[in-house]
């Protein structure tokens, strides 16, 4: 039994690898000319009918990783301008600044509307670096989230037949919710703006910085645990990737502290199996009316 198979997230079948997996195939970008990439947004990463924001971030992040001289996203901000649909898309990048250790760039994802006009769906501003080249110093007071063992958490297969909000993306993920933050699924939300989960990819692919971009926007909205239902559209999402994730599932903890004026923030932390803080993110979203 290999080490990968011993991980709780492994299936009995062959395990996908970074570079050869559903996630890699579905976030692939093909250079049409320098800095311009064709992508095909997969229907496999949709929630209801809209393409997931974290998946979009990964597609844009992959284009920037190719366009910029540094390989890894360090800080990425996305403004979501309109809902993206499965199907063809083009990503146009701009290299803004290149330095020795960091480079900055911008990328926009366009799709064609019913009249064939190009419409910008997402715009990203990012600074890239090389996570493997960073020093090993860590001085942290942040603590990994208190989350029950993997086998005590709840997956889609444990829930009622129709968990609200679940959709195609559910099949691509190995998402196991902390039962104390899953009350919404059975009509008993905790009233706290918290959501915690183990996060893996269904085909067993380990994580890299691009799948971390997916992880920060893949859990059900904290608004569900506040007793609100409905669409929670992201206005803006910023992720800081702080280190390369170790193999194995991630733990993601999301907190909403302030719902006001029709907006709420979702703060996410992503921790790896080595108990390191892999990423911090915050998004501003429109609060559901329910």
């Amino acid at each position: 039994m290999t080490e990968a198979c011993a991980a709780p997230a492994a299936t009995g079948a062959a395990t996908a690898t970074v570079g050869d997996s559903e996630f890699d195939r579905d976030t692939a970008v093909v250079a049409r000319e320098p800095g311009v990439y064709d992508a095909d947004l997969s229907a496999g990463w949709t929630i209801i009918s809209a393409v997931n924001g974290g998946y979009l971030l990964a597609v844009l992040g992959r284009a920037l990783a190719d366009a910029l001289p540094h390989p890894d996203p360090i800080t990425v901000t996305a403004h979501y301008l309109g809902a993206s649909q499965p199907g063809p898309a083009v990503v146009r990048t701009e290299t803004v600044r290149t330095g020795r250790t960091l480079s900055s760039g911008q990328a926009s994802l366009f799709q064609r509307d019913a009249e064939g006009r190009e419409v910008e769906r997402v715009r990203v501003m990012a600074t890239y670096g090389d996570l493997a080249a960073l020093p090993d110093d860590v001085r942290t007071t942040a603590k990994p989230p208190a989350i029950p063992p993997y086998e005590h958490c709840l997956g889609a297969e444990d829930g009622p037949a129709d968990i609200p909000g679940s959709s195609a993306i559910t099949e691509r993920l190995r998402l196991k919710l902390d039962p104390t933050t899953a009350g919404w699924a059975v009509g008993a939300p905790s009233g706290k703006g918290e959501m915690r989960a183990w996060f893996g990819l269904a085909d067993g692919r380990d994580h890299d910085p691009l799948s971390v971009l997916l992880a920060v926007d893949a859990l059900p909205p904290t608004a569900f645990e506040l007793g609100l239902r409905g669409w929670v559209p992201t206005v803006e999402l910023t992720v800081h990737v702080r280190c390369r994730p170790a193999p194995g599932p991630l733990r993601v903890a999301i907190t909403t502290r302030n719902l006001a004026g029709g907006f709420l923030e979702e703060d996410a932390e992503v921790w790896d199996s080595a108990d390191r803080l892999v990423a911090q993110s915050r998004q501003l979203a429109k609060a559901p009316r329910g």
Copy 2:
């Protein structure tokens, strides 16, 4: 005695107002053509010789407030590409999307280098709205920072002659540090990554969303309380403005939880005199080596 004069931050002299103050004059932008603005970065808002990042954000924010159909910054992200110097600058804006309640835009600040070439110093991506038009709903678990009364906090006038890091900007601000987070100034940092202060403008101007952009990057770095000294350059800073600030001084609390790989985050909360959470921000900065 007017209500404004009764506020702890008031001087005996005439009090400046929003629109007629040092801050307004120094962040003024003049339209050269639609979407392009001339600015003159004031030496009054420098730390050592570099222009403060929050002041730059306010200059860019003012240009976007003019260029976009909505008046108030709701979420603003800045990538700092290089240090800005006092003197002339040009801000070029782009309107990315206009909607009924929100509009998104981008702005870049350029200065000329020694050879007369235009160099981009800061790029901002933002979504604007109308804070006055937002609903009054508030459901928050966030609490105002525990900070001693204004008169028990420490200003530049209370410190040793040469507080490290103090500079021209100090004279423009009415910044009073919580003594428990000011140990660094007397060589006894707490070791915690925390900084808390009352924040006002020296001429008594009340706050508006633009001065809130200044507030989130105006305190001494939390790194000082971690026992580190030296320059803490911001890579990226995102601010969410959640409501219009009430009159009177603000309270700003900044926390660093994770210093790793040569980077640290600074999370700021800004609270107003009505105990409302006015803004949340996070910046990624390079950790000092000291």
